[in-house]
Amino acid sequence: MKARLRAAAAALILGGLFVGLLAGVRDLPPIGDPSSPASTHVSPRFIEEARRETGALNMVTAVLADYRGYDTLGETAVIFAAGLGAFVILAASIGGPRRETPGPGLSHRVDSLLLDTAARVLAPFLLLFAVYVLVHGHVSPGGGFQGGVLFGLGLVTLRLVWGPPRPDRAASRFGPGVRASFLLASAGLLAYIAIGIAAMAFGGAFLDYGVLPLGQDPAHVRELATLGVEAAVFVAVSGTVAVLFETIAVGVAETGRPLPNEDPAPVEAREEG
């Protein structure tokens, strides 16, 4: 009864939220309306000046990494904080006694020639494409976050196929352990902050890339520094992706039996039809 009351209350609240949002949205200018405040107040400057001021062809990159670079630093910190939280909560025993080595699966090498070969063929392209997305972010959609996630996914793919890093295995070169990934994430966030503080050291505001002594043309300097910042985001994000995977997947054992709580009769159920 109590559960039903709760569900009713939740439905009431959500329904109210829905109606309220609907009422509010009707007052908003339509999406993409060129005469809406969102398109006439701040945006024109970004559209007209971004190329000249920041050197980035892609306006999204100009806004994210330069005009509102401080937000991006914050978002990087949010992602790092997620990795930190997972590390604290899930990998609590680190530094303590060693875990028992679990069986194959998410935590062990998958011995399959097909998977191994496919990973060898695909992974280099995946990792390279991640770097391309990072570098090309100035011109096309992409940048540090997207590239970082792709790179992290490449690492996760390798990790899934080749198992965790183990000192007695050659695969340990690739699978980044929790600590190594975490160091990567920290280093990325630190690098971002360091770029910001470096700008202060050269007399500008925090993250004021224009003052950095990287060349004559301020727009070009900003472009270079933006790439630096994006690279820092890239490192932080890919490190965090690896941390999340390592902390969540560690200890998963493939037992050769059905998964826990697996219902072993799906085939019989199918035959009814």
Partner: protein
């Protein structure tokens, strides 16, 4: 008005998101829920792309479609597959 293809596609994607999201919340099998979240994310990514936010769509496809699904499955393996047991 309702019949322009862009609007229809957007409506379809939003409906997909609504249905997959709701069903993911209701099913007891967590692996199914994870898979549904993958579908949800792809619909969201496609919708973002339809809105012209290619960067966001890109991110959503990477994070929601691939990474989150992997992590959810890994977490399911570590804990329990069914909610009602």
């Amino acid at each position: 008005m309702m019949l322009d293809p862009g609007g229809l596609i957007a409506t379809g994607l939003l409906a997909t998101m609504l249905v997959t999201g709701a069903v993911a919340l209701l099913v007891n099998d967590l692996l199914v829920a994870a898979a549904l979240f993958g579908v949800f994310s792809f619909a969201a990514a496609a919708w973002f792309a339809a809105l012209g936010a290619v960067d966001v769509a890109f991110t959503e496809a990477c994070v929601g479609g691939a990474l989150t699904t992997i992590l959810l499955v890994a977490a399911t393996f570590r804990t329990t597959r069914r909610l009602d047991r």
